[in-house]
């Protein structure tokens, strides 16, 4: 089956892409760049650098802007999916949805209206397992966004390695955060992974942080 992956550049959409690529042809990645930082549907930090990730994986990439206004962004999602049907004759969509009924319901409806299959290979996966699968699959990712107590600015740019996973797990019971960031507590960006032919190296970045909320802006990055 020819599939398009809703790709934010983060760990979840990458892992979903990797699982889908086992039995299916990934025709393209689809990315919506939200003009609002707190989009209801779409992960935002470092989104413009997904083009570098797509290049690293040698997969075609469609990217378009969305207002980020609740429900309006669904029209933009429908439009980019329709573009992928026209251009690549895709038969289905893959998402990194984990537990959000809000996201899942809306994407399922769009796919159903367009007669597309919808695959959510991470659906209902326990967050601890998700983090462990990132490690076992040698997915190298960093934290690019934080939005919960007790995260301070040292978390921005931190590699999600086994030590980081242990730290995230220990915060789960103390602060009731979702350790894989399903509630928006953390956002991530994949630098290297099994489907990458080259890895992304961040040359220059800047942290923006205030009161348990922050993001890492990537200013310059290249493939090596």
């Amino acid at each position: 089956m020819k599939l398009a992956v809703l790709f934010s550049g983060g760990k979840d959409s990458y892992l979903a892409l990797q699982y889908a690529s086992v039995d299916h042809k990934i025709s393209c990645l689809l990315t919506l760049e939200s003009e609002k930082e707190d989009s209801w549907m779409f992960h935002t930090p470092a989104i413009e650098w997904t083009k570098l990730q797509a290049k690293a994986m040698k997969i075609d990439h469609l990217i378009s802007k969305t207002s980020g206004v609740k429900e309006e962004e669904l029209d933009d999602l429908g439009s980019i999916i329709e573009s992928s049907i026209s251009k690549y004759s895709i038969e289905g969509i893959v998402t990194g949805a984990l537990a959000s009924v809000y996201q899942s319901t809306r994407i399922q409806k769009i796919c159903n209206d367009l007669g597309l299959w919808c695959f959510n290979p991470l659906w209902q996966m326990p967050q601890k397992q998700l983090l462990q699968e990132l490690l076992s699959n040698k997915v190298e990712s960093i934290i690019t966004g934080i939005a919960a107590e007790p995260f301070d600015d040292t978390w921005l740019g931190r590699c999600i390695d086994s030590e980081c996973v242990d730290d995230l797990m220990s915060l789960e019971s103390r602060y009731r955060i979702n350790p894989a960031g399903e509630g928006g507590e953390i956002e991530s960006f994949v630098l290297n992974a099994p489907l990458f032919h080259k890895s992304v190296r961040i040359i220059e970045s800047k942290k923006y942080y205030s009161n348990f909320s922050g993001r890492l802006e990537i200013k310059k990055a290249l493939l090596i």
Binding site: D23, T105, Q108, K109, W117, F119, W123, Q124
Partner: protein, 179 residues
């Protein structure tokens, strides 16, 4: 006690979404997962209970194999729970009909009759293009505004749920395992 979990997914990738979450609720120690094409009347008899999982909205291939399900399941006398497409399969093998019925998202459900799986009013996650209607062989235990949601065979311990209990209603699967 060993539980058989039957996949109705024609695409292996869909099993991560529709079978794996149910497998996690059942617990790894006492279960076996088989695709329905791997099941025979003989190899399912060792199991104490059967769960038939749902599949993707676009996946209707199970509807072409109703005779196969009939052959496998008709003489199985122990409890069965069919989820979404699993419920449609169970109704069809006993002679009831699949009807067009679209539900995507959370639905409000009202329990109509005291039963082993659910009680009161609750919300559940549905994704289906089809459901069942005009039931002759099953009793309706719960329903939403637009469709039948929980059923039980009139004489056997065979249950069906139209929604996906693995999302936000894990207790329904746990209740079935306790029957």
């Amino acid at each position: 006690m060993t539980i058989l979990i039957i996949s109705t997914c024609s695409e292996k990738l869909s099993e991560r979404e529709f079978v794996t979450p149910i497998s996690k609720i059942v617990g790894a120690a006492n279960q076996k997962i088989l695709h329905y094409t791997e099941c025979t009347e003989q190899n399912i008899f060792e199991f104490e209970k059967i769960l038939i999982c749902g599949t993707s909205l676009q996946d209707n291939s199970y509807q072409k194999d109703i005779d196969k399900f009939k052959m496998i399941l008709t003489n199985f006398e122990k409890p069965i729970l069919g989820i979404c497409s699993g419920m449609q399969i169970l109704c069809t093998i006993f002679g009831d009909k699949i009807i067009k019925n679209l539900e995507i998202g959370m639905v409000d459900i009202e329990t109509l009759e005291k039963n082993s799986l659910c009680k009161g009013n609750f919300q559940a996650y549905s994704i289906h293009n089809n459901s069942v209607g005009n039931l002759v062989h099953f009793t309706i235990l719960a329903q939403s505004e637009t469709s039948i949601q929980v059923i039980k065979h009139k004489t056997k311990n065979i249950f069906g749920v139209s929604f996906h209990p693995e999302v936000r209603n894990e207790s329904i699967i746990e209740n079935f395992l306790s029957i």
